[in-house]
Amino acid sequence: MTRENNLAVNSFQNASNTSDRNQKPAITKIVTALLWLLFSGNLVYLSLNFFSIPEWTYGNLFSINGFTILIWTTVTFFSAIVSSYASNYLMGFRYHSRFMMLCLGFTISVMLLVMSNHIGLLIVSWFVMGIFMSQLIGIDKDWGEAREALKFTQKYFLTGTLFLAAGIFVLAFYTGEFTLTGLASAVAEVPLWLLTVSALCIILAAVVQSAIYPFHRWLLSAMTAPTPASALMHAGFVNGAGILLALFATLLFASNTLTILFIIGGFTAIIAQFTKLLQVNVKQKLGCSTIAQMGFMIMQCGLGFFNAAVVHLILHGFYKAYLFLSSGEEIAQTTPKKPLELKIGPLQAIIVLIFGGLGAYLFATWTGKGMVMDSGIFLTLIVAITVGQATYNIIKEHSLSIVQKILVPPALFIAGIGIYALMYNGVTVLMSSMPMTAQPTPLSWTQIIFGVIFLLGFFIMKLGVYKKLPWLYVKLMNLSQPHKKSVLMYKSKSI
């Protein structure tokens, strides 16, 4: 019977027993369940009432419309995913419960933000949102560098809130209106200089939140947050700009500040995309990518497509949350590779052009953007180049057969553009009650110039010209360094 025996005999020391195992804090389960419940509730409500979401107001405090429900659904989705993930990931972490509470607090503050009609509520929820986020960044209080990162990011968020408050109060005290709806309709009576001051302040608040250059450094110093908190930050928090700008669309139009948005967004998109190329840490790389994507979102706002910006922030949220949550997958043994030679035959070039054009056509018809000569053209151009790039990479790949080369690109871009168009049209419906959120501007020289710059950027990247500029490398490397005190600042020892 020895065979049975050796399983039954207990080990002579410390055989695994249940006390060796981690128990999830009760709060984890409650918060996770609550967030999933909120998400499903929102989703069901959104689907059932999609075409006719009623406007619901409560005094001058709250106002809930399609846009509110859309953002609620989005933010609860991200929070639910993150808290499910964190309930395993943070198991045994001494601040696990605190993390869950901060996560819940953050979610509620975002929900409050988008339902606020009273400006006081709006400013307070904006402020609280920043507090929750910086607390997540510095959640490990015993870690000196994390405390430094907390202080550093908090300064940014406070500055942002101050600008927001200033921008709104200027308008409010002039017009005597203290609700968003009131302000939107009173804008017409305000002198232009005051509108401009107000709009600039609000833009500053937005770009600080979205880590737009030159306010990008807080985002690159925020990796002391546990990975799921980073996911929430990059999928939720940074999107604040898109939401805020959409809420103040009327003001931005009236003050003629859209071009400013377009330019700072455009510069940020290009600088950050190049900076991303030289990042050697995966989270900083994702950080630079977020900054570039936020730049693009701001550009979309600058073109008058606030609805497109909202679609972008949702889709980018999916993308970036996924990449953060899977950021542990980047370990791999590789061998140094010589860059591939760039060669393209005339026939291939023709296919690239045809597919690019076809992609642009589909995009224009399905989204209605760029059908006439307005700022939508710019977005259509981006789509055309993207489709062209995809086609180019596929048709020069040797491992694919001719049939695959011809069929794969259209399959990809039809699916991609189709799903995007569905999202875009859906969001447009939900935002239809908001003034001036889908208002293409006339095609301007700035837009044309940036169109050219993007094309140039495309060729510079493609041809690898930038690799011949060592000074640029060092410049961008230093530009993307985290806050000094948040790296190697302390030496600690526990006894």
Partner: protein
């Protein structure tokens, strides 16, 4: 070349260990440079250099004490021997009175700037834009770029010496040679993770090192130049660092008491076993014999497999004695697949099985396409402006993946797992010489094949062959885990061991090998004996057999084995995960949950290495705390096999054990810190949070149950060998480096002497032994004297 400088660099370099890349995470001793000094001196020196703990934290002693892992009597007598007469409780309180300290890093600016350059230079493909001038080596490329670095201040290129040696000569002018070593030690120890990786690159001479060379001298030159440029002192002030030696002494005694308690329990168990089952020589041949790695995790699965049928198991180093590199058919990369202390003589690659040539071609084609897919996605994400269009077009798919991976990891795992050994069913391993430059591989001589097969049976003390013999390597499955290779087979340089197992099976099946074995070595492998390879998945305890070439005659045996292995998987996971329900399901979920930071425990809790026949341990539950190597002293009269085991596996287990020890006593310095804030750098390592020093060891989650609760117990390895004591002493006398490990207290050695009624003796120092037996205390004194007498001669 300036000899004094070079010598001082060498001397200073012992302060740092080697940081292994995470794709081949080898658990090594971070203080390996100090192995010639005593353990105590080494840890104190390291404490000073790194500001690191030398001994376990107070809370670990507290937990061990409270759960009885430290025997009160043992502790009291140790304390008394050292003139300490107060109660253990009061000493524990003294240890606990030490407070956590946090000081400002005096080298903050230099450390930060150097970490920035090192991370950029040593990147292995994470960045699309490489550091310019990289192929000219670290010093040169740094020199050409630093002139643009505003953080260091403006400099003209001509003011920076052309070579690193020149730079050091100029910078160190005015210092004496004795200062050199101090200066270098200080600067190397400031970023031990990064300098350890330089160390790894220069010794392994990896592909990246060949194309982009870096050396410790390059690093020191750049660093000391930067230090001077920033106006900081090159020679650190004599630190007023004081350790509380009284507390250290207490900590060391507590550690020893802890270790002795454990040894006592182990000795008692083995002694009882040797009496209960005095090496029973059963005559019946088992249905199947299975060979597992010596890994501590094998102990559990062997217990469970043995209980499911007439099965016999062996323990053998998981690279199965084949010193090979393996060329993957998936990505074409050649990886080391034998212990890092062994140099690879062979290279194994895959070729199609005779009947499956076409399928293999289409398999390779699919691989190419999936490689292209990754390249394609990377391009779309990186390029302007496709990055923006790509995000909009693919966002919804990422959203769906978020849901899938978060909510149904197990379903996705089961779907993927089916495909995971597809290659093994199409291919057969093919062995060749490692540095064969010929285009046509010619294989290896017959006698080398015979040698490989023969030593497997020699070392494990094999006697009879069952109709089916399975060589089971092991590998781990985990998702989103930077440290996944730390859970793979250490003997295969942190790769899964499946290919070594398949290779050995193939060699042992060759008729010409068997012919030589019987004719020249008197080893008879019956004609109906079949060898096959397998892999034990240590996360799910699934054992997959590579049985695509099994002849019809053996099919029924294989099928029965498979169904029994499923039963073993069930009970093994229940045992390991402590769950009564569907434990296999929870194990599979752990294997593929991307939020799981503790997919399995790896080698945590390891504390012993037993070199003896399985019969000695078969009826005990060793709780996965021991490495087990099969060995039969009677079949090894010359001691050659034992010597091989002590030179190879014993040293590897010591590395692993020391790595676990140091990662546990100071997880932030020697380990990896917590996984939850890891940031992967350069595709090979992790840093914490925003950056900083490269992490060099196992993360907190591989060692601790929670931030506070101990899981691994940091005890030095106790090796137990069943063999005549004279044989062991002779081997030690011949191998001074092994003797040094013992004399300097890096490991313990206990011998169970079959010539002395299986009594146990513990190695003291300089080939002296003392009795360690628990049962027959009456004869203790006598035998001790005999033993000492016997070996004092040898010592001379």
């Amino acid at each position: 070349m300036n000899q004094p400088i070079l010598n001082s660099v060498d001397k200073a370099a012992k302060v740092i260990g080697k940081t292994w890349p995470l794709y081949t995470f080898v658990a090594s001793n971070p203080l390996s440079g100090y192995e010639n000094t005593s353990f105590q001196e080494a840890v104190s020196a390291a404490e000073k250099n790194f500001n690191a703990n030398a001994f376990p934290e107070a809370k670990l002693y507290r937990q061990a004490w409270e759960k009885g892992a430290i025997d009160k009597q043992v502790l009291i007598s140790l304390l008394e021997e050292n003139g300490l007469s107060e109660s253990p409780e009061s000493y524990l309180k003294q240890i606990e009175s030490q407070k956590r300290s946090e000081i400002i890093n005096g080298n903050h600016e230099v450390d930060r700037i150097m970490a920035k350059w090192l991370a950029s230079f040593m990147d292995e493909g994470l960045a699309e834009w490489d550091m310019p001038y990289k192929s000219e080596g670290f010093y040169n490329s740094w020199r050409l770029l630093v002139i643009y670095d505003s953080e260091t201040g403006t400099t003209a290129l001509k003011d920076i010496p052309k070579t690193s040696v020149e730079a050091l000569e100029r910078l160190l002018k005015g210092y004496t040679e004795s200062d050199y070593t101090r200066i270098f030690t200080h600067h190397l120890a400031s970023l031990p993770g990064w300098t350890g990786y330089i160390n790894h690159r220069t010794t392994s001479n990896s592909d990246w090192q060949k194309d982009f060379p870096i050396s410790l001298i390059d690093y020191l030159a750049a660093r000391i130049w930067t230090t001077q440029k920033l106006g900081l002192p090159i020679l650190p002030e004599e630190s007023n660092y004081t350790t509380n030696t009284e507390i250290q002494k207490l900590q060391y005694l507590w550690l020893k008491a802890w270790e002795q308690t454990w040894q006592g329990q182990l000795v008692q168990t083995l002694e009882n076993e040797s009496i209960a089952s005095p090496s029973t020589r059963t005559t019946d041949v088992p249905d199947v014999q299975m060979v597992f790695c010596i890994d501590t995790r094998s102990e559990l699965i062997r217990r469970h497999v043995e209980s499911k049928g007439n099965y016999e198991t062996y323990g053998y180093a998981g690279f199965f004695g084949i010193a090979m590199d393996y060329e993957s058919a998936n990505d074409g990369i050649v990886r080391k697949a034998c212990p890092p202390i062994v140099s690879s003589a062979y290279k194994v690659s895959e070729k199609a099985q005779n009947t499956k040539k076409d399928q293999f071609i289409s398999f390779k084609q699919k691989n190419k396409i999936s490689q292209f897919r990754n390249y394609f996605l990377r391009r779309m994400k990186n390029m302007l402006p496709s990055a923006f269009g790509y995000v909009e077009g693919s966002g919804v798919f990422y959203g769906l993946s978020l849901i899938g991976r978060t909510l149904i990891p197990r379903k996705l795992y089961q779907a993927n797992d089916k495909k995971s050994s597809k290659m093994e069913h199409l291919c057969q391993p093919d062995i060749n010489k490692a540095n064969n430059e010929d285009i046509l591989p010619l294989g290896i001589p017959l006698e080398e094949k015979v040698g490989i097969v023969k030593s497997a049976f020699d070392l494990t003390g094999w006697k009879k062959f069952a109709p089916l013999v399975v060589f089971a390597g092991h590998g781990s499955h985990s998702a989103n885990n930077p440290f996944s290779s730390s859970l793979d087979c250490g003997a295969c340089a942190a790769s899964p061991g499946r290919h070594n197992a398949r290779m050995l099976a193939k060699l042992a099946n060759l008729p010409e090998v068997r012919k030589v074995l019987i004719e020249s070595h008197n080893i008879l492998i019956p004609e109906n004996t079949l060898f096959i390879g397998a892999e034990h998945n240590t996360t799910t305890d699934d054992i997959v057999l590579f049985d695509s070439e099994v002849p019809a005659s053996h099919k029924p045996l294989v099928e029965t084995l498979k169904s029994n292995l499923l039963k073993a998987q069930k009970t093994a996971t229940q045992d390991r995960l402590g769950s009564k329900g569907n434990s296999v399901a929870s194990a599979q979920e752990k294997a593929n949950n991307w939020g799981e930071t503790r997919p399995e425990w790896g080698l945590a809790k390891n504390a012993g290495f037993i070199v003896a026949p399985r019969s000695l341990t078969k009826n005990t539950n060793l709780d996965s705390r021991c490495f087990l190597h099969s060995y039969d002293w009677e079949m090894d009269p010359s001691g050659k096999s034992l010597e091989g085991i002590m030179q190879g596996p014993m040293v590897v287990t010591q590395w692993i054990n020391n790595h676990y020890y140091f990662s546990t006593v100071d997880n932030n310095t020697y380990g990896g810190g917590s996984k939850i804030t890891h940031n992967i750098t350069g595709k090979f390592g992790v840093v914490q949070g925003n950056g900083g020093d490269l992490k060099m060891g196992l993360p907190l989650q591989s060692l601790f149950g929670s931030d506070h609760r101990m899981y691994h117990q940091p005890l030095r390895l106790s090796v137990v060998i069943q063999a005549p004591i004279s044989r062991v002493s002779e081997i030690l006398a011949r191998n001074t480096h092994l003797k040094t490990l013992l004399d300097k207290e890096w490991i313990y050695l206990i011998v169970m002497d079959p010539n002395q009624k299986n009594d146990l003796f513990k190695y003291k120092k300089t080939l002296q032994w003392e009795s360690a037996s628990k049962n027959n205390t009456s004869s203790k004194i006598l035998e001790k004297e005999i033993a000492e007498l016997a070996f004092s001669e040898l010592a001379v």
